[in-house]
């Protein structure tokens, strides 16, 4: 076999499928099963990273035709730099998560068999890789469904709980509605490529050659965008995300949020930039506006959550929004033939894709470690974990800093690039866009600030202070497998943050192929140190120098505080003479988000009740105070409830036809036949 990126990546998929095949042999020894399968999948991920990095770095495009599938419709596989980039992102995170899973899944030993989890984990990873490898509509959809079905079973893993079943069902519905839209979109494109006489239009290669009339291209794009948006969790199609991510096992949520959502981003980029190629600016505007709405709504909903994993799930909505902002801007710039700016925005979007995969994976792994240790997802019941889980706390903090887009970590770089793209939009020829796009920049800034607030809350309430819970679980630090997965992810966050020029140099081939220009990232001397997207006098950033500066300040502050013994001493908290302070009186998640709830309350469906039980003496001396707060997604009532009710109503009407008598059914067919015969005579 010739060594080439596509062969390496295909063998990675084969390795994953192989590890599914050996599961039955190891079923009786669950500990061995976990070790073997997850080690194999991390090996497969390493292979994938190698292939992906090579494909992007060398700018290589490989194709492969597999003679399986339907007769005359073989599967086409292709690796180009875009696919290579997404494969790198996917395999990078799946490598970390597979290592982490070795430790994490052992927590289930003795409680329930993990065979199904292992099987579907490997199929899920293979499915994701196949989606990116696919070069024809048929294989793409098959891989897409394999991915959806495997993740359905993963969400369903702890199926004795009703919330898991409900979340998995909701996820399945949304995934299928999306898949139908994608199928229709490919159908339109294939039909326009070769007409409906021949099937050859189903390959992406044929679609790349075709010219689509604007009307049909728009229909295809909108359908595809709808389908991919349902998978990515773009507002208002996001409702399945905060249900499914919290209930899945944490390693799976890390993959679903970090990687699976990215396949939708891949799909959007593939369909718009690669298959349709020519599009009007308002397609980009749709993507941009939905991205902005997702970013702002996602972070606002995240702020209201007190379930750690649910909070992270809403942050996925936000980050998908930020990625789509980059992609949407790039589409707008492309349609106005501004390749350099388009390259900038595309790089910003793709860089954020990679960053989000890494830091969201890290955060979900951290949340999983907390869940593993405390058996608790509700932040209100946590606190002070930094003392018992110092490693997890430090690593989770790195994730928090990264996602809050603070230097020197990676989130900052991509959001900074997105801002640069925003700030250059006055170059656009349309006055309307000139006016509106800066508003988007303001919303993005708001998102960043709110995200920071949200992670101050998430980290502060979970790890700082004292234990708030009623139960007293024996909290233990994560084991070395889990720690190594998180440490590698944290290091990657740092590397992506301080050496962005290296990575952007590596992936610069993608905008060259899709948007028609490279991003000249660096100018002047020390060019690997300074990230200069447009011109040095306009804006430049050096992650390394910022990192060194921050390190210097931190070291100095540490030395100042710790060099003298006795500069820090512990004392009881001053309680204003009240004398009855307990840990339930700490700042908690609900109280932290209160101000924001007051300002943005109109966006939520909030039910707040305060019930005072007065003492007999006087009502100024309350005996107990009950506070009840329920926050719901407004979109559920606006969009989903009517659909659900409508389908129930229709089903009930149709159900009347069903008499349960065979004769009745026969009469239906009889009448149908007679009527058809009369009309067709």
């Amino acid at each position: 076999m010739i060594l080439s990126p596509i062969n390496i990546i295909s063998s990675s998929v084969l390795l994953l499928l192989l590890s599914v095949a050996i599961v039955p042999l190891l079923k009786s020894n669950q500990r061995l099963l976990i070790n073997t399968s997850f080690m194999l999948s991390s090996l497969a991920s390493l292979l994938g990273i190698a292939g992906g990095v090579w494909a992007v770095g060398g700018g290589i495009t490989n194709k492969l035709i597999l003679p399986i599938g339907l007769p005359d419709l073989p599967f086409h596989l292709r690796v180009d730099p875009l696919a290579g980039f997404f494969i790198t992102v996917i395999c990078l995170l799946s490598f970390f998560v597979s290592l982490y899973s070795v430790g994490y899944i052992k927590g289930y030993l003795g409680r329930r068999p993990v065979t199904s989890l292992v099987i579907f984990y490997c199929i899920f990873l293979a499915g994701i890789l196949m989606v990116v490898l696919a070069d024809d509509a048929l294989f793409f959809l098959i891989a897409w469904e394999v991915m959806a079905a495997a993740s359905y079973f993963l969400v369903m893993f702890e199926d004795e709980r009703i919330e898991n079943r409900r979340a998995a069902f909701l996820y399945m519905i949304v995934a299928h509605v999306g898949a139908i839209a994608i199928l229709l979109s490919f159908g339109i494109m294939a039909g326009l490529t070769t007409g409906f006489e021949s099937f050859n239009g189903y390959t992406f290669d044929a679609m790349r050659q075709a010219e689509f009339p604007l009307k049909w291209a728009t229909a295809a794009f909108l359908l595809a965008f709808f389908g991919f948006a349902a998978k990515a969790g773009v507002v208002p199609l996001h409702v399945w995300l905060p249900e499914a991510h919290p209930v899945a096992p944490s390693n799976v949520s890390a993959l679903m949020s970090g990687v699976m959502l990215k396949t939708a981003i891949y799909g959007i980029v593939r369909v718009s930039f690669d298959l349709i190629r020519v599009f009007p600016w308002w397609w980009g505007a749709i993507v941009l506006i939905l991205g902005l709405i997702s970013a702002v709504m996602g972070v606002l909903y995240a702020l209201m959550q007190h379930d750690l994993k649910r909070l992270l799930a809403y942050h996925s909505v936000e980050n998908i929004g930020i990625i789509l902002i980059g992609i949407g801007l790039s589409m707008i710039f492309t349609s106005f033939h501004m390749p350099l700016l388009s390259a900038l925005a595309l790089i910003a979007g793709l860089y954020h894709t990679m960053n989000h995969a890494v830091f969201k994976g890290l955060l979900f792994m951290g949340a999983g470690a907390v869940l593993h240790a405390t058996d608790e997802r509700n932040m209100e019941e946590m606190g002070g974990l930094i003392h018992r889980m110092p490693w997890t706390a430090a690593l989770f903090l790195i994730g928090c800093v990264s996602i809050s887009a603070l230097p020197p970590f990676n989130g900052f770089v991509s959001e900074w690039l997105t801002f640069q793209a925003f700030l250059l939009s006055p170059a656009l020829p349309s006055p309307l866009l000139k006016l509106l796009i800066p508003l988007g920049a303001a919303l993005l800034a708001l998102t960043g600030a709110l995200a920071a607030a949200c992670f101050v809350k998430a980290f502060g309430v979970t790890f700082l202070g004292h234990w708030r819970g009623h139960r007293n679980p024996r909290v233990h630090e994560a084991d070395w497998f889990m720690r190594s997965g998180m440490i590698l992810a944290a290091l990657t966050c740092l590397l992506l943050g301080i050496l962005p020029t290296l990575f952007i140099d590596w992936m610069d081939i993608i905008p060259e192929q899709l948007a028609g220009s490279k991003l000249r990232i660096s100018a002047g001397e020390y060019n690997w140190m300074w990230l200069t997207p447009v011109a040095p006098e306009r804006a430049s950033y050096s992650g390394l120098i910022v990192f060194l500066g921050i390190l210097l300040v931190v070291v100095a502050a540490y030395l100042v505080l710790h060099i003298r013994p006795g500069a820090i001493h512990r004392a009881p908290i001053w309680d204003c003479g009240f004398g009855k302070l307990n840990q339930r009186m700490q700042y908690n998640a609900t109280s932290f988000s209160m101000p924001i709830r007051r300002i943005f309350g109109f966006l939520f469906n909030i039910k707040e009740q305060v019930k005072l039980t007065p003492r007999a003496v006087h009502k100024a001396f309350p005996k107990r105070l009950n506070y009840y707060l329920r926050i719901r997604d407004r979109f559920w009532n606006w969009l989903y409830k009517p659909v659900v009710e409508f389908s129930f109503r229709v089903s009930r009407k149709v159900g009347l036809l069903q008499q349960g008598r065979i004769q009745a059914y026969l009469i239906y067919s009889f009448i149908t036949i007679i009527v058809l015969l009369v009309f067709s005579r």
């Binding site: 065979i662 004769q663 036949i673 005579r681």
Partner: protein, 221 residues
């Protein structure tokens, strides 16, 4: 043999097929039904052989033999055994409103002739005049399934419908290709077995073969 004689014979046999179909529509006793079904099969088989002879299509002899062995001997035998095992041979099924059912059957025959008149005018086959009878047999089979309640009767209705289809194939195009006919014959045989199994299950579940009982399987709101 003279072509006119063949056409006469063909029409004559078609009349018998229709007659047996009407007979099955109102026959109340189980054994009577099975016998009528066997007779219908016999007429079909003879008809197929004659058509095969006059059209010079030798594969029709094979399908004629198949019909003879399957529909005249094997299927009636299976039904016979089924009726005995299920101990329903003494049951007399209540057929409601016999005149009305007969009238509907006649209406269907007229309707079939009306439907087939354009085809009959265009066709040049010897058997063209029996096409309407074939269609009528199919529809009467369906009507029988609708008006009867006993599960065994339903199956005989279904098989009668299949007889009609076979008849239609013979009269419209001198029979289907042999492969198709072999496949259909196999299907019928397997269907008979499956029905047999189902009857036992229905019988043990509901202690009756009245298909109205199955209305209880409906989901309640």
């Amino acid at each position: 043999m003279d072509i006119n004689v063949v056409a006469q014979l063909n029409s004559f046999l078609a009349a018998f097929v229709l007659l047996t179909a009407f007979g099955m529509l109102v026959q109340r006793r189980m054994y009577g039904l099975v016998h009528l079904f066997a007779w219908q099969g016999l007429f079909l088989s003879i008809n197929t052989a004659i058509v095969g002879f006059v059209a010079g299509k030798h594969h029709l002899y094979i399908s004629s033999l198949l019909t003879l062995s399957l529909k005249v001997f094997l299927l009636p035998y299976i039904l016979h055994v089924l009726i005995q095992r299920l101990k329903v041979h003494k049951e007399v099924e209540v057929v409601e409103n016999v005149p009305m059912t007969m009238l509907m059957g006649i209406a269907l025959v007229i309707f079939s002739y009306y439907l087939m008149s354009p085809v009959t005018q265009l066709s040049t086959l010897v058997t063209r005049s029996t096409l309407a009878v074939a269609l009528a047999t199919v529809m009467i089979g369906l009507l029988m399934m609708i008006t009867r309640k006993h599960a065994v009767t339903q199956i005989i209705g279904f098989l009668a419908m299949e007889n009609g289809l076979f008849f239609a194939a013979t009269s419209a195009t001198y029979g289907m290709p042999l492969v198709v006919e072999l496949g259909v014959a196999l299907d019928i045989l397997i269907a008979a077995f499956i029905f047999g199994i189902f009857f036992f299950h229905i019988h043990t579940t509901f202690d009756s073969l009245d298909v109205d009982q199955m209305a209880r399987l409906k989901e309640e709101d």
